[in-house]
Amino acid sequence: MSHSEAPQAEAEAGRPKARLEVAGLEVRLGRSGPDVVREVTFAVRAGEVLGLVGESGSGKTTVALALLGHARRGLCITAGQVLLDGADLLALSPRDLRAARGARVSYVPQDPSSALNPALPVGAQVREVLRVHSRTAGAAGDRVAEVMGEVRLDPPPEMLRRDPHQLSGGQQQRIALAMAFAGRPSLIVLDEPTTGLDVSTQRHVLDTVRSLCRSHGVAAVYVSHDLAVVSDLVSEVAVMYAGRVVEIGPVARVLGEPVHPYTRGLVGAVPSPERAEALAGIDGQQPRPGRRGPGCPFAARCGHAIADCATQVPEPVTVAGRAVRCLRAQGIQATQPERLPLVPGPPAAAGGPALLVRGVTASYGHRLALAGVSLEVPPRACVAVVGESGSGKTTLARCVAGLHGNWTGEITFRGRPLARVARRRDKDTLGRVQYVFQNPYTSLNPRKTIGQIIGQQLEELTSVSRRDRADRAADVLNDVSLAPDVLSSYPDQLSGGERQRVAIARALAVNPDLLICDEVTSSLDVSVQAIIVELLRRIQRERQFAMIFITHNLALVRSIAQTAVVLRRGEVAESGPVEQILGHPADPYTQRLMQDVPRLRPSRTHRPPGPRPA
């Protein structure tokens, strides 16, 4: 931020000059349309990583691409400078810009499985970045071999001849890193490069990024919505909201003792793998470009807002070692947001288990997905099923719900064995076991209104009369904190968080005894995730159903479940009370998972010298 001279300039006096300086960056929809990002200013020194965080839609990726002089279809970079080693990338001719990309500044994409060309072997794609910048074939080959070592991918030479789809997600991301580092750039832009990777793979990728940036003096900008990942990796962090940087400074300050109410909200929403805490989300949504109105764009969601916030755009002010765009910045204590410890729920009720799974073995074709899994869900309890992708979590849930028929073993629900597939189960059983899917963007029929979606559920599984269905639907929407006017909306008019609430309401409409939640928060922002988790916990307490909560995110487990089951390659590695499994894991696999979980611990990173803020 341009106005953050005082403390930062002093701190920087004795330190190396910035490698990347971004000043007044502005990107609009079309040449003169509404702004998508504006007044973005920050600097990164060689060997350091700046984290760019915020909810989806905050403009993180737009800024990241603008650092390479690129704007997606419909967007225009309309103002600002991107100074790389003192020269403005945005002032370059298209030809010079092309020469700079891949050589002086490079990009690591969010999803390597779609960013690697499916028709070209991966080796050719790494080599290409060198060849188009006029290295000879021999020199390029040597450098490819070298950079493969740098990203700790020690391939048999034949791996370079493989097509992208033959590599695992982690290997694909290493290939993308190799492409980015191959040309020895001064700046590397990483756009959520670990989203979708297992925690262990994520840890390896992050370690690689960190060591490469340090050892080669590369400046890096790391875009992420995951504050825990960022706090582990970066030295400075910029928090974006509605296209602006609302708080920027050293990571220990910004994430350790946030000032801006938005940052405080984000930090408060991050689940902790160590303690059982109530999660506080941020209600509401970010205003879209063109609908940002006058004043602070966060005012509508802000607990500290005053009358002026609605009319006055806050200018950056320096508070406690970081720059903040907030009118109330001086009045907010720079502290770690307080978190309430979770009140332990009532002890598990007496009586038989709601669900009993005994020795379930399931397979897809010839591939074994579950090998003799047993677990027990007490009534009114929540059991978390955790494990890496491919460990069989979802298969287990699908067997219980009757969506996957190819299993053997025994699944007993309320004392009676469940039929193998859903279509052999009676309506009563179908209604008592409900499922909420991972992706709310695909689990709601886009051609039906929310009222029809919930109404159909009531029509199929209950005897609620046609007249009462709308009332009943409005009731369950109220339970998930949605207004009744949502009934006439279509799914695409809702945000991801709202859609997931609708999916939960659809399940609740028929009063289930067992709710299966399959990675229900993994496609949502952390601020929305916190709201959904709190919502599920509250409703479960009120309605007293049993729940299976499937997640790859171990940090979430303590906030919702009493029992945890760790799956590893289709087998139960370990199971027991959450405090025991997460606090004192006995199985090496669980230990490694716990060790690799990214933790929000900005205080561990080095603190710049200077007086602590009051």
Partner: protein, 334 residues
């Protein structure tokens, strides 16, 4: 490291190469298909009213002459016997004799097969190249004038039956406006189309006009998708020159789905030649089929239908193999 570095096992390596497996399976299915087609064709011509002897001699023939001809044509044997003598004839290179002139079927059909094959492959090659090129350019200049012009023309042409296109071409190029090309493609019996290439132009042009819009539209859609893809954006962010982005990154991925459409158009051509050959009197397999049907020349009908069925089977296999080779995701099973 263990998780990240564990190489994805090329599971297919141990088993047969998927392309070889596909060809083997498809060939087996193709043989079964041809057998079924031969049975259907044989039975269909059998149940037609009257038999070949009546067809040859006419309805005023005396029963004695009919009986004599039936013996000569083996019509007195049972259905199975007749089928057997027909199929075994096919395998020994003797598909029988024409009922119309008593000439061997092969001698009558062979130059027509060649002529039609020349037409189909000339049209297929030109149509595929033109469709792919125009579709790619339309995608690159999306919403430009060329894109609009090609999409309007493509829509107009796809709504016209091929004989209308043929007649329009005849009006413009052979009769009313200019007289640059022959309106009918008369060839001496038994001679080949390449001896007078100008006779190929109008039938070929008609069919090219008919098939290009389908290929163009598929190619345009696939190319637009490829150009919007993450890997094309990634290539640009790697500093890859634009020509290389288009030719190396976008085009190969766009061609894969287009190959299926090109294959379908080859199959269409096998039927499309019937109408167009008839319009231009082009001495090909389609025109031969039409005249054989009107003459009730059953051995010729049977043989030509089998040839067309075999073409369908072979073209389907070729299309699938090429499409498989063009799609790495499917080429090697994970």
């Amino acid at each position: 490291m263990a998780v990240a570095a564990a190489p994805a096992q090329p599971a297919a390596a141990a088993r047969a190469h998927p392309v070889a497996r596909l060809i083997r399976r498809r060939l087996a299915i193709g043989v079964v298909t041809l057998f079924l087609v031969s049975v259907v064709v044989f039975l269909a011509t059998e149940v037609l009213p009257g038999n070949a002897a009546y067809a040859i001699l006419g309805h005023n023939a005396t029963p004695v002459r009919v009986r004599a001809l039936e013996v000569a044509l083996h019509l007195n044997r049972g259905v199975l016997g007749q089928y057997w003598s027909w199929v075994s004839g096919l395998f020994t290179g003797n598909p029988g004799h024409s009922l119309v002139n008593g000439q061997p079927v092969w001698g009558y059909v062979e130059p027509r097969i060649i002529n039609s094959a020349v037409l189909v492959f000339v049209v297929g090659a030109i149509g595929a190249l033109a469709g792919v090129a125009l579709g790619a350019v339309a995608a690159l200049r999306k919403d430009g004038w060329l894109d609009h012009v090609t999409s309007v023309i493509a829509l107009a042409v796809t709504s016209l039956p091929e004989f209308v296109v043929a007649i329009a071409l005849v009006i413009v190029l052979s009769t009313v406006i200019w007289h640059v090309l022959p309106a009918v493609s008369l060839l001496a019996p038994g001679s080949y189309a390449w001896s007078q290439p100008e006779l190929l132009v109008l039938p070929a042009a008609t069919l090219v006009i008919v098939i290009v819009p389908y290929i163009l539209r598929m190619m345009r859609a696939a190319m637009v998708e490829a150009l919007e893809s993450d890997y094309v954006e990634m290539a640009r962010l790697k500093g890859v020159p634009e020509w290389r982005v288009v030719l190396v990154h976008a085009l190969p991925n766009a061609i894969a789905p287009t190959i299926q459409v090109i294959g379908l158009n080859f199959l269409y051509l096998a039927g499309g030649v019937v109408v167009v050959e008839y319009v231009f009197n082009f001495p090909g397999i389609g025109q031969g089929l039409v005249s054989a049907v009107s003459d009730r020349d059953i051995p010729v009908i049977q043989f030509i239908v089998l040839v067309l069925a075999a073409f369908y089977v072979v073209m389907n296999i070729i299309t699938d193999v090429i499409a498989l080779l063009a799609t790495p995701r499917r080429r090697i099973a994970r």
